[in-house]
């Protein structure tokens, strides 16, 4: 091979996460390169979100290594992850409903005046600017976010992730709460971030989303990675069969595939 070995942006090696006796993630290794989108798919409880929570600092893995730009890093809190330019859009959005959009966008990273007070005007100003890019229809900057629509709330969560120069972005079901127009906006945003060299882990239930946006796809089943495949080398049907059976297509028996056929 003539191609020089590139250092992955993220490399997770032998990650294990257990809750009590339940192994949510078993010995998973996965990597992500600059400007790449890796789709992570799998059924409910396959361990997708748990794996990503280990990277975003929300839950420390029981064992395994995380390398960022080839260096082993200890990520034991969301603050650590943010320090490494890892930003996350959580499935639950993780917004404090009782405070307004600028307060949520800057939560934990408030802009301060030189007197040590929060600079709410500056935060509102920057929020207006970033929202103009993400969702031009967003106009409510002073009400608690509780009163906003699902799409607007999602826009805040996305804005929060990209406003602070993320190098690594984890998106857990970013379009789950969105209508068709807003979903298209998010897709455009992902493509745009890709061109800026941001590496993205994309968790989604929507196979079309994943095929449309990903470069590689990792399929998880019962806490393990079944396989990581190049998008162009598989069909959506093959991915679906991997999600359901937990086996690579060449490992599945003819009867299993036949049953799948009957079910779908």
């Amino acid at each position: 091979m003539v191609v020089a070995e590139r250092v992955p942006l993220v490399e997770m090696r032998g990650i294990n996460v257990a809750f009590g006796g339940i192994h949510a993630v078993r010995d998973v290794s996965i990597d992500l390169f600059e400007g790449e989108v890796v789709g992570i798919v799998g059924g409910n409880g396959a361990g997708k979100s748990t794996l990503m929570r280990a990277l975003s600092g929300a839950h420390k893995p029981d064992s395994g290594e995380i390398l960022i730009n080839g260096q082993v890093q200890s990520i034991s809190s969301p603050r650590d992850a943010k320090g490494l330019n890892i930003e996350t859009i959580y499935q639950t959005l993780a917004l404090a409903d009782n405070i307004d959009a600028p307060a949520n966008l800057f939560l934990g990273r408030e802009l301060m005046t030189r007197w040590g007070t929060m600079d709410d005007s500056a935060m509102e100003d920057q929020t207006r600017k970033v929202m103009k890019r993400i969702n031009p229809n967003f106009t409510n900057f002073t009400s608690p976010v509780k009163s906003l629509s699902g799409g607007q709330r999602q826009a805040i969560a996305i804005a929060r992730a990209i406003h602070f120069n993320a190098k690594i972005l984890i998106m857990d079901e970013p379009t789950a709460a969105l209508g068709p127009a807003e979903t298209a906006q998010v897709r455009d945003q992902i493509r745009h971030l890709k061109t800026e060299g941001v590496g993205i882990f994309l968790i989604s239930h929507d196979i079309h989303d994943v095929f449309d946006l990903s470069d590689r796809i990792s399929v998880m089943y019962h806490g393990r990675i079944v396989d990581t495949v190049d998008k162009n080398s598989v069909t959506p049907d093959e991915i679906v069969s991997m999600i359901i059976l937990g086996k690579r297509p060449d490992q599945a028996t003819a009867t299993e595939l036949e049953q799948l056929e009957l079910h779908t």
Partner: protein, 432 residues
């Protein structure tokens, strides 16, 4: 289609012009409601007594009586907003009050001499520090070990009252230091007429400056501004209220006998109109506490974090906030405020009794809840809680003024509490 729906939410729908005028003032309607209720109660008692209730001395006394509860309520607001509770405040007041009295009657006179000019300050600082340590100790168990605050502070409610008894075997300790006694109010414990006007004018200047500063900031960033008439209305209204309250405080004159005694002590003549008492020291303390706590709650990061934790603890954690330390700080803060409140209570009754602060936890929580603090977390204001405390004190004072004492007061307080929260719940449901 989505556009239409969103703009309908964002733009105020056409309404009668009077309502739009209201909105331009951007007055907190919830707070305004409490003020109306408070004025209603005071005027109601005035009506019942044929106006006898509406004297400066009554209005000042009921405010002074609210101070101890109101000071703690400012801290309790943050505790409840962050989805916790503190049942131990009354017992902390007991321990600190007893310690303060002990310091002033026995420890400090032996150490630095009787009637030393710094006795009051040392006692006050030690008392507040003791409160902070107790609060921090309970807060650490709550935040770092994860025992529910209800349980920890219920334990504190029992334990610290026991400690209070242990300090003196239940004996009342009195009297407190003469300078310290000023914290309790009364004619001697008030700042006087001239100083009161000065305070009033300073507050007015601050109100105008704050309005101007906010307007300048908003213009700098090109945000929508309040109409000028609204700004002027707010400034005039604010100053009128402040100066009106100062006028009431200054209408309270020293009783003649006490004034003569003062004249003999100081060698100064009594002014022709009588000696104006002005604003009592405890009320000055409450004003400062309200100001500082409002500043902490709304302008500092810590306050923002407390509200974020109350709104969504998981989001706060994922946002990178050190939630445990934030929670522990709220308990340190309320401990500190309990210390201050204990000082004011001990100064007012000129000593410490075994039951100093007993039952405060319920009055403090009631004050917060009447003031609009939600038990679901994430919602509450410091001025609201202070007004809630004053409202409860007005009721208690008014009822005893018309001769209804003891059990009936408790019945009324209970009814008011449930009614206030009931109205709030209905309002919130209607607002969605």
């Amino acid at each position: 289609m989505t556009n239409a729906a969103e703009s309908a939410v964002a733009e105020p729908t056409p309404q009668s012009s009077s309502l739009r005028g209201w909105r331009a003032l951007e007055i907190d309607l919830r707070l305004f409601g409490i003020v109306i209720a408070l004025v209603g109660i005071i005027l109601g008692f005035g009506l019942l007594t044929g106006g006898r209730f509406l004297t400066p001395v009554n209005l000042i006394n009921l405010t002074v009586q609210a101070v101890s509860v109101a000071i703690i309520a400012t801290g309790m607001t943050l505790i409840i907003v962050s989805r916790n509770i503190d049942l131990s405040v009354g017992s902390i007041v007991g321990v600190v009050g007893m310690t303060l009295a002990l310091m002033m009657t026995q420890i400090l006179p032996n150490a630095i001499g009787f009637d030393h000019p710094l006795t009051w300050l040392i006692s006050l600082l030690v008392g507040m520090a003791l409160g902070a340590v107790i609060g921090g100790f309970q807060g650490a168990i709550i935040a770092y070990i994860g025992v529910p605050s209800f349980i920890v502070t219920l334990g504190g409610l029992l334990a610290w009252r026991g400690v209070t008894f242990g300090i003196t075997q239940g004996v009342t300790i009195a009297p407190v230091d003469p300078i310290f006694r000023l914290l309790g109010g009364g004619p001697r414990g008030s700042i006087g007429g001239t100083a009161s006007w000065v305070v009033g004018i300073i507050v007015c200047v601050a109100v105008v400056a704050l309005l101007a500063y906010n307007r300048r900031r908003r213009r700098q960033f090109g945000f929508a501004l309040r109409p000028m008439w609204a700004e002027i209305t707010l400034a005039v209204l604010g100053c009128a209220i402040v100066l009106g309250l100062v006028y009431i405080a200054n209408s309270y004159l020293w009783p003649a006998a006490l004034a003569r005694q003062w004249s003999q002590e100081t060698g100064q003549p009594i002014p022709p109109g009588g000696l104006q008492a002005g604003i009592p020291w405890p009320v000055i303390v409450l004003l400062l506490v309200t100001l500082v706590m409002t500043f902490i709650a709304t302008r500092r990061r810590f306050g923002r974090y407390v509200f974020a934790i109350g709104g969504n603890p998981e989001a706060a954690e994922l946002g990178g906030i050190n939630t445990r330390w934030t929670i522990m700080k709220t308990f340190i803060l309320i401990g500190l405020l309990c210390g201050l409140s204990a000082a004011i209570t001990a100064a007012r009754i000129d000593g410490a009794t075994l039951d100093l602060g007993a039952g405060y936890e319920l009055y403090v929580i009631a004050a917060c809840v009447i003031g609009g603090t939600s038990f679901a977390g994430g919602i509450g204001t410091i001025p609201g809680s202070v007004l809630g405390a004053i409202l409860m004190a007005s009721l208690a004072y008014g009822l005893s003024f018309i001769g209804l004492v003891g059990p009936i007061q408790d019945v009324v307080a209970g009814i008011v509490l449930v009614t206030a929260v009931g109205l709030d719940t209905v309002n919130r449901r209607r607002a969605g």
